[in-house]
Symmetry: C2
Subunit: 317 residues, 2 copies
């Protein structure tokens, strides 16, 4: 009897389901909208229906599903309890138990989405070959997932790796989305870079290729830096210094083998890596500065790979 | 046959040996000088002689010693290998194997001294009741030990928890002892506080009780703050804000149940706790701000308790 595993990544807008065979080969993906109305009560039933349809499509029986691994956008404790998932409208809920009930007893494991992505990148992405790594995702905010000895580290209340809200800068007066001031994501997230660039363009008078854009985002900054624009290069250097310092913090505390860069900004590629590398080597404590900095490679499939890996772990895959 | 365990804390100046009975009650302590000349070649033989003498004193046979747990001032990998221990003059060495050979086959486990202290505080000190905690020791420098799920977390190369060398401040030009600029211990270690106080006293003209001391150290600052001296209170507040921000960083990443304050500065007690608490609650990400801040209680015995705990772990004590 051939065995299968599902990896699921529940996002605030869409939910991605992925079917893997017993050798962890991705066979199919399905994307459904995440209905967050009515306190997110439809989310798990919708997943159950999509699973049923996909199993029917592939002629898979319930007994053939070794398990379902789910990542959700909120803190999840080691035993699968979500405590407040604002993006989905959920209060406290045991996803593992609940989804297992809906699916007639299929084993379900759950974790935070950033943790799932970190596990996925270790399993089949940019973190392959490492067992101790930190994934830092650069997008609207900064997310983080921590893998220790090949397993997700979720902390005492499931909130470990909240890297975006490290109190990074002293004396900041502007507020972060979380209500505090000086959080790391106020300086190095893709949104922050766009904001910083706009401010610098206002303050300076020099010509810059960046001035031709209506709105400047991190993408334009890295693109124009690649073209040699001095202002863009300056922003890339400033940001790289800060990312390097942040990675130095992570390294001093966790002493990982690698830090993997994920999220949309990873697409900037080598110029981003180079900008971080110098500053990381300078700022990281010598005994921890050997950590490698890598780019994530799975894009938005990292979460489903990581979800599936939660199940594959039980089978030594 | 009654069983015993030895906990050993190897310091740069002295080495402390402690005898515990099978119920982890401290029965005796011995302090010997640490001879660091000749690349530290005498350190382990001296320990072996002190162990022999103590076993003879108490009529303990080799078979009665369940194991020896050792903390050393350097990074130690999970399998007991020290890689450069500058304070002892050691290069790379497998302490566990080496000391086990010297003692005729007694089981030896080794870890970093700060990790041992963290484990000791969890076992019998200020961290009792917690399984996920971080010990931060405030002395000449800042040390750190991380306990995850009741076990020491030592990272990929044994250097996890190098909290003192977190790159804490942007734009610092003064150098830390490690050669970098802006390390956490440049702002919150006991030495740093003395240095900062001296500088503030030079810059300001107001009268202050601190001016009566030839040399101002952290102790005088906390003592005079307790007496209500405004300048001392200002330094306590500034330092508390920074410690709170640093603890916020630790909490955002590790999501521990508790942060335990050790080292000489812990003697400042409640005024230190109060100065940290406000800033920690303000700076820590909300999902991680529930971590409790506690004072260490074992003083300079934390390391030997932690060393012994490495052995007691194998016996479920």
């Amino acid at each position: 009897m051939e065995m299968f595993v599902y990896g699921i990544d529940v996002g605030g807008t869409n939910t991605k389901l992925a079917l893997f065979n017993g050798k962890a080969m991705l066979k199919d993906t399905v994307v459904i909208p995440t209905r967050t109305d009515a306190k997110g009560i439809h989310v798990l039933p919708d997943i159950k229906m999509a699973l049923d349809a996909n199993m029917e499509k592939h002629g898979i029986k319930k007994e053939q599903v070794a398990g379902i691994g789910v990542g959700v956008p909120g803190p999840v404790t080691a035993d699968g309890v979500v405590n407040k998932c604002v993006n989905l409208g959920w209060d406290s809920m045991n996803i593992s138990k609940q989804l297992s009930l809906f699916t007639g007893g299929i084993k379900v494991k759950a974790t935070n989405d950033a943790n799932a992505a970190a596990l996925g990148e270790m399993f089949r992405g940019g973190g392959q070959g490492f067992k101790n790594l930190i994934l830092v995702t650069f997008g609207t905010g900064i997310g983080g997932g921590i893998i220790i000895d090949g397993k997700i580290y979720s902390g005492a209340t499931g909130a470990a790796g909240e890297i975006g809200h490290i109190p990074f800068m002293e004396g900041e007066t502007e507020k972060c989305s979380c209500g505090k001031c000086g959080c790391l994501e106020q300086y190095i997230s893709a949104s922050a870079i766009g904001r910083i660039a706009t401010k610098i363009l206002e303050e300076r008078t020099e010509d810059s290729a960046l001035r031709k854009y209506q709105t400047v985002t991190a993408k334009e900054v890295y693109d124009e830096a690649k073209n040699g624009d001095p202002i863009a290069l300056g922003i890339v250097k400033l940001t790289g210094d800060r990312i390097g310092r942040a990675f130095g913090m992570l390294a001093s505390m966790f002493n990982p083998e690698a830090v993997v860069i994920g999220g949309g900004m990873a697409k900037a590629g080598q110029i981003l890596l180079n900008s971080i590398d110098d500053s990381f080597k300078k700022d990281a404590f010598h005994a921890t500065a050997g950590a490698e900095i890598r780019l994530a490679t799975l894009g938005n499939l990292a979460g489903v790979y990581g979800g599936a890996k939660l199940i594959f772990d039980d089978y030594g895959v």
